[in-house]
Structures are given as C-alpha cells and as structure tokens.
Symmetry: C2
Subunit: 338 residues, 2 copies
Amino acid sequence: MDDYEIFEPGDCVLQSGATLPRVRLAYKTHGTLNADKSNAIVFPTHYGGRHQENEWLIGPGKALDPTAHFIIVPNMLGNGYSSSPSNTPPPYDRAAFPHVTIYDNVALQHRLVAEHFGITHLPLVLGFSMGAQQTYQWAVSYPGEVDRIIPICGSAKTSPHNWVFLEGVTAALRADAAWRDGWYDEQPVRGIRALARVWAGWGHSQAFYRELIHLKLGYASLEDFIVRAYEEDNLRFDANDLLAMAWTWQHADIGATPGFDGNFERALGSIKARALVMPCTTDLYFPPEDSAYEVQHIPGAELRPIHSIWGHTAGAGVDPADAAFIQQSVREWLAAPI
Amino acid sequence: MDDYEIFEPGDCVLQSGATLPRVRLAYKTHGTLNADKSNAIVFPTHYGGRHQENEWLIGPGKALDPTAHFIIVPNMLGNGYSSSPSNTPPPYDRAAFPHVTIYDNVALQHRLVAEHFGITHLPLVLGFSMGAQQTYQWAVSYPGEVDRIIPICGSAKTSPHNWVFLEGVTAALRADAAWRDGWYDEQPVRGIRALARVWAGWGHSQAFYRELIHLKLGYASLEDFIVRAYEEDNLRFDANDLLAMAWTWQHADIGATPGFDGNFERALGSIKARALVMPCTTDLYFPPEDSAYEVQHIPGAELRPIHSIWGHTAGAGVDPADAAFIQQSVREWLAAPI
C-alpha cells in the first residue's frame, strides 16, 4: 500500500504555456495541523529522491518533530510519484511530457498548501539540493507566507557549471540507443547505469574518495560503491523521469519568476523569509562561493557552511556528523524569533 | 605529409605480460642534439593530445627553446599516432588492444632516447596531465638519468576520485550500442559526443563557467562551447583509442614500478630529480591537495600552484596568464643548478 497521498487539482498551465493534464502531486504528511494552521512546514524532495529520502530529518525528537509540527513533503514533478513522463497518459506521456520548472513545482505545492489544507502561513520551508531550489522559490513566489527558509546544498539559480555537468550526466543516458529519444518500451538500462556512473564522480568530493570513506561505509571497492550506491539508486527511476528532473534542475532560476524580468539579484533581494543557507564546503555541484553570493543579496541571511568531505551528499544526512549539524541548525532556526 | 617520425623497436612485452607487436612510437623533435648529448628534454603528451598540443611551450624565445635544447615529444600509446587500437593490426586491433600502463609508455620512450638517440642524461622531463604522470614515471624508472622534472596538473598515482570520474567519462561512450564492445566498423559518434559532454564539466572549474570565460573566449553559449571545445576535440579520436588512454590513466601508479611492491610513498621518495610540481588551484581532476601530498614525499621538491580559475585546463597553456606563469617557471627551473 502506498504510504502517501495524491493531490489532484485537475489540469495545470505551466510556466512554459503548456498544459499538464490531470496533475498528480504526491505528498506525505507527518504530524497534525493545529487549529490555527500555524505549524506547517514544507520540505520538498530532491533529484532522485522521493519523500522517503527526507525522513531522516523527521520524527519525534528530530529537528522536524511531528509532535509539534505538521510536515508536508511534496514529491517533485518528474520523480515518478507526482506527475512524470512515466505516469502521465498520452498525449503528454514519455518524451512528450512538458518541461516543468521549479516555479511550476512550487506553484503546485502552494495550491496543495493553500487550497487543500487552507494554510496561509509557513514557519519554515527547507530542502536539500533541488529541494533547496524549491525552497528559494517558495520565498520568492510567496514572500508574505514563509517565515524562514533553509536551503541545504542548493542554489537559487543553476550555475553555468552545474548546467554543463548535468549535460554530461544526461548525455550519458541519451547515448544509449535503447532510449529511443524517449519512446522506449523497456528501460534503457545501459544508459541509466552510465548516467549513474557519471553521477558518482560528482556526488562525493575528491576528499571523500581520497579518505576511502566508501570502504569505511562497507563497500568492497570503488566499483562496488558505484554499482550499489549509484547504479542501484538510479535504476529505481524511469529514464524519462530522470531526464525530466534534470531539465527542471538545469533551468532553475528564481529570476525567472514573473515580475522579476530575469533579474536574479532582485529576486534574491525580495526574499522576506529569514534565510539560513547551508552549502557544503566540498560540494562540486553547488560550491559554497555560489551560496555566499546569494547570501550577500538576501536581506539578513546567514551563511552556515557544512564543513564536510562528503561533498554534495553532505546535505542528504547520510553521514552522522553532517546529519547532526543539520539537525541542530534546523532546530535552532525553527526556534529563532522572526 | 606527417610532421613526425616513428620509432619502431619491434615487439614489446608490456607490464601486463602481453606482447604488443610491431610497436610504433610516434615522436617529434625540435632543435639539435648537441655533441655530448646533454641538451635533450622529454615532453610527453596528454590524454586527447598529440605532439602538436605541446608546441605552445616550444619555440625560439619560449621556455623550451630549440636553439638551446633538443626537445623530444613522444606521443602516448593509444593516441592514434603511436600504437593504438585504431592502428594496430590483428590480433591486437580494436577491442583486443592490450592494456598499456604509464610505465610501459615511459619504458618505450626510454628506448627511443637511449637506443635511438644514444642519450643517457636528460636535463628535464616535463608534461601536463597524463604527461605529468609520465614525467613522474621517468623520475622513478630512471632516477640517475633525469636532472629535473616538472609535472603540471597531474599526479604520480591516479586518485580514487579521478578513477571514478573517468568511469563516468568512459561509461558515457560505452553506453552507445554502436560501440559494439569495441568491434565497430564506424565510429560510435553519439557515444564520443556523450563522453565529450561529460568532460566539459570536469575540464574547467566551476569558477571558469561562473565568470563566463567561455563567452569571453568567443563561444556563443555554453552549448556552443561544449560542441566546439569538447565534442569537436574528442571526435578527432577513435573511440577505442579514447578508452585505451583512459584505462592507462585510471591505472597510473608509480608504486607499481618493479621494485616498489606497490609502495607509492617509497616510489615518491626514490625520486632524485629536482621536482617542480605545478597543480592548478581549481583542478577538479588533480586537486592541489594530492600534489601537496606527493611533494611531501619527494626529497627537495617544490610545490608551485598555478593560481587560476581555468581548472585542469590551466596546464594546457590556453590562457595567456597561465601560459606565461608556466613558461616562466620552466625557464627558471631549467636554469637552476642541480
């Protein structure tokens, strides 16, 4: 039995002008919405993640405590639970699935929050990686409704280098002729494995591998780590779904929010939420310099780097030390006055 | 007409035990060997490079001046000029081409130097990237014969992260079914393009792209840069040749030199040449931390980082500032007493 629910607002017009029919937003909630609807937290998912991957931060005694808060984890469009190439009927199925932006994701999440739950105010929005991108978007799209944000290992706008390396990741999948430009009947497994193999170089830092953390985690070798930590993880996903999420990522830019005319700095400056920005010092996707630039333009924001050799994955809470640091920071931020 | 010569020492037994038949070592020389054969410099090539790519550092008035020195540029095995999957006859053609190590490359270069030219002493060996790996190998294999080495943006042993990201690079090519496990008749162009697209994320740093250097260089867009700077470059090569060179790279380790029993630090400690080690501060392949570790173990070595946002490519001499810094350093090192 599925452990999540589906919000179905009908057809939705996307930022591109395309209509995504019969939209499904899969989400999971933890805890209970209080009477004045003032205790809700939104915690969107990341690339290659589903709501289950956010649960390390959620639970009694954890930073996001369902005994105090009502935590909503919306699944990103394209992740196979929410509307995705793999689950959308013709004529928008597979390769014809329209391009979806971070803005579209957040607009849809806002409908869930506002229309379905009747919530008008969020003490916190947070997320890791593409979840951080959605977090920034929440603060820009709905400035009066979000008190605090914590973007973890993510950016408000995908950097040129990030765009380039995602081209490499997706090109590896697309090199497999079995992908058939998206019109496959069977998964292009070789391409998905190649994509995963490219990820393996990016997801953890040079120092992570230098210190042989993969062996300390119990993997038998580098090859074993690539197969079990990266290939297995990506093989859970449909190929077009992986490509759809990558497109969303490559085009993330809060400056593209209506009203900002592409002005990224102005969009950052419009953020009213109290922002705790948590890059990892060794993240190869979202280097801390990019986060520092963003913090400079967000009124009152704090930059709090995660000092870790885990690279991007530091924000996923796998390493106990990184997880504890994030847990503690989220707790503190939630308790801070606005 | 070819602008290079071929040294043909016959069949060669490789480190693996396999015999590479009718070996070709393509090389180019600049300048004139003096009477006492004391002015020769060896400058091996890098991955995806041929002797032409080394010429930015060679010429009258440049750091490697043919009016004073006799500069030998040997082409790496697998690069399409020297013995490679693409030019070796059956039964060692294409996918059956044996695995070649950095050690094998240098052993062969040593035969060219010693047997063909009768040179027993080299004032300098230097190289960029895999050329740096060959440079380290020269110092370890022939400690009494090399006065100075300058490894630029390279390592004496391929790091675990470097191995992993090369897996991603090659997996992208291998994902193309047209590669046919190496037994293609026509180049797997889609796979080569995918490989190139993966390289694009690694070859230049995050900061290079952040500062939009690709636009300042005259490329119209990121896509234009990927196609013209990376795809075009890699499409010059045969697919199996690219994979052969990557295998050599992945297995680079001076500790595997006979006599060292895999002891990397002992191999570093055996280096007698005066070493100037030049990593780039933003190199994603060979981060300066790895070079610093190597320098600690090489008696009398100097670490001199190239402060540049060009990433790995800083060592290729494309950027005028980086090129000038390298030229100046090579000049100085060549003039230094031993």
